[in-house]
Amino acid sequence: MSTDATELPVETAASPKQRRPLPRGESADRKATTQGRWAATLIVPAMVVLAVVIVYPVINAIIMSFQHDSGLDPATGFYVAGGFAGVANYVHWLAQQCNTSGGGTVGCAPGTLGSQFWSATGTTFFFAVVTVVLETVLGFWMAVIMARVFRGRSALRAAVLVPWAIPTAVTAKLWVFIFAFEGIANKIFGTSILWTGSNGPARFAIIIADVWKTTPFMALLILAGLQIIPAEVYEAAKVDGASAWQRFTQITLPLVKPALMVAVLFRALDALRMYDLPAIMTGGANGTTTLSVLVVNQIRQGFNSAAALSTITFIIIFIVAFIFVRFLGANAVASSTPSEKGKTK
């Protein structure tokens, strides 16, 4: 245990605690051990709080997901006792199987929550892919503009923060108003579409609202990535005769990639848990039921079944995060830890 701690590199800028002159060699050892103990004292409270508010509920949800929901089965009208259910809840969602009065299972009737798992998964991924792609492209454009030097740049950066600061619930109501039947969107485009009333337009409205609200976040993350590229690199490339397009693909893209991947990871995980916009704008109607909406709708019909669904959702999001970090190089943890090679302050 303690041997590992001593192997860690010791920071040169030592805190005053360790300033006591000690014999060389021994000081490094003791410094690392004290640091470890200090660190534990400081970190443990936060970890305990997180364990209570996150780890405990998650474990609880997993345990619940293997229990039957007691109560009257809505499909059969029979009373179902609680107790260990095995993977029945998972089968219910993944295979979309509902109980029958005979005791067996059949495919859930259309319209019931049980029949919506795969469509909700599809909707969730559809929203995630479309919004993240749009936000990346638009965010990149905004970031490139914001990185330029011109008068009014700081006004632009402030303006970009406005949609970000508006609560999603307010954003949803605002866009519902804009997309209302008599609303400004129909007037401007000269259309008479019931935006939140049918599949395509409802999804379109939600996507627009989401893109409006979260592109600024994406743009600011990309901008931060752009700003660490030294101007000399571009100068050198210009001297060498690289075209604007070449400079973009050969310099900007590769250098901004780490920041871009982290931004995409953040947004993708955020988009996969989308709840507020569909819940408020359409109530999940017309092909806008995401997994989060489905979980919340299920809660009042049975905790344990909802727990199974939320566990599935959690696993899906975890897998996506894993793919990002493992295969696409979106290493948020690594980029937040100082690099070994002499970090400048």
Binding site: P9, V10, L50, I166, K173, L220, D276, S310
Partner: protein, 296 residues
């Protein structure tokens, strides 16, 4: 675009003018883009404010500036006669946001100090856990907590709204503060000690003033994220404890099946204006806090 095709001809005749033209063209393109972004970001917000001041009879008027000016919508927003509790909800959100922010900072500052300044085992693991926690889907904890709070009769209580919020605010504060603390010139603490400060003095006179902006920025971010929360609040609250986001989402009008848009926009304006003012004042700091840790 066109500058590429006209380059050779112009270059031979008047290279200087061509270069100047190109620079002017580039800068006007920048301005056009900037104006487009500006309009895209602010127009919906502007429309909300305009509607908030419009007489309810002219809800769908399309005049791009305020017409039929009235304060009535704000009165309606705060009126409780239709079963809305907007005023109470404002206080609830303020209270919940403050408590969550204080708790998040209290635990976050210490953890972030250790993560930024000390070397210890499992540091990578702890950072990974915190980061994972910050991206955690809210639905994964809403079910078990809903059952737990139902069983112990906490549904509709403030603690039922505060505790889940800590789950996403605390990782946020730890993560943001860690990035900030890592950038701080800690050598100054050392220098102060050499200059004869006691450790307490070095902390109070050197470190605290340096760390205060970082802590303050993090507090703003934490408060905003708690203020904006909807999923958990919509499930765990009742009429007395509902937050502003829930109040706005379920705002009822006098006519059934007819959304009281002008009143909702007025309520939205009240919720948003303080945030927008805060964002405009602390723009630089907020941007630094948002992007802290994402790059470097």
């Amino acid at each position: 675009m066109s500058s590429a095709t006209m380059k050779p001809a112009v270059l031979t005749t008047a290279p200087k003018t061509a270069a100047r033209n190109r620079a002017r063209w580039a800068s006007s393109r920048t301005y056009i883009s900037a104006v487009l972004i500006f309009i895209w970001c602010l127009l919906p917000f502007y429309w909300m404010v305009v509607t908030a001041f419009r007489d309810v009879g002219y809800t769908f008027d399309t005049t791009p500036w305020i017409t039929h000016f009235t304060w009535d919508n704000f009165v309606t927003a705060f009126s409780t006669s239709l079963g809305n509790h907007f005023g109470q909800a404002l206080l609830n959100s303020l209270f919940i946001g403050l408590v969550v922010t204080v708790i998040g900072l209290l635990f976050g500052v210490f953890a972030a100090y250790a993560l930024a300044r000390l070397n210890f085992r499992f540091k990578f693991l702890v950072l990974g856990f915190i980061l994972g926690a910050s991206m955690f889907p809210g639905v994964a904890i809403v079910t078990p907590l809903f059952q737990l709070f139902t069983n112990i009769g906490w549904i509709g209580s403030y603690q039922a709204l505060i505790i889940p919020n800590i789950s996403f605010v605390l990782p946020l504060t730890v993560y943001t503060l860690t990035s900030f603390f890592r950038e701080m010139p800690w050598e100054l603490e050392e220098s102060a000690r050499i200059d004869g400060c006691t450790q307490g003095q070095a902390f109070r006179k050197v470190i605290m003033p340096l760390a205060a902006p970082a802590v303050f920025t993090t507090a703003i971010l934490a408060f905003i994220s708690s203020w904006n929360e909807f999923l958990i609040a919509s499930q765990m609250s009742n009429d007395q404890t509902q937050t502003v986001t829930v109040a706005i989402a379920s705002f009822a009008g006098s006519q059934p099946h007819q959304e009281p848009y002008t009143a909702i926009m007025a309520a939205g304006t009240i919720v948003v204006i303080p945030l927008v003012i805060m964002v405009l004042i602390f723009q630089r700091k907020i941007v630094a806090g948002l992007t802290a840790g994402a790059v470097k």
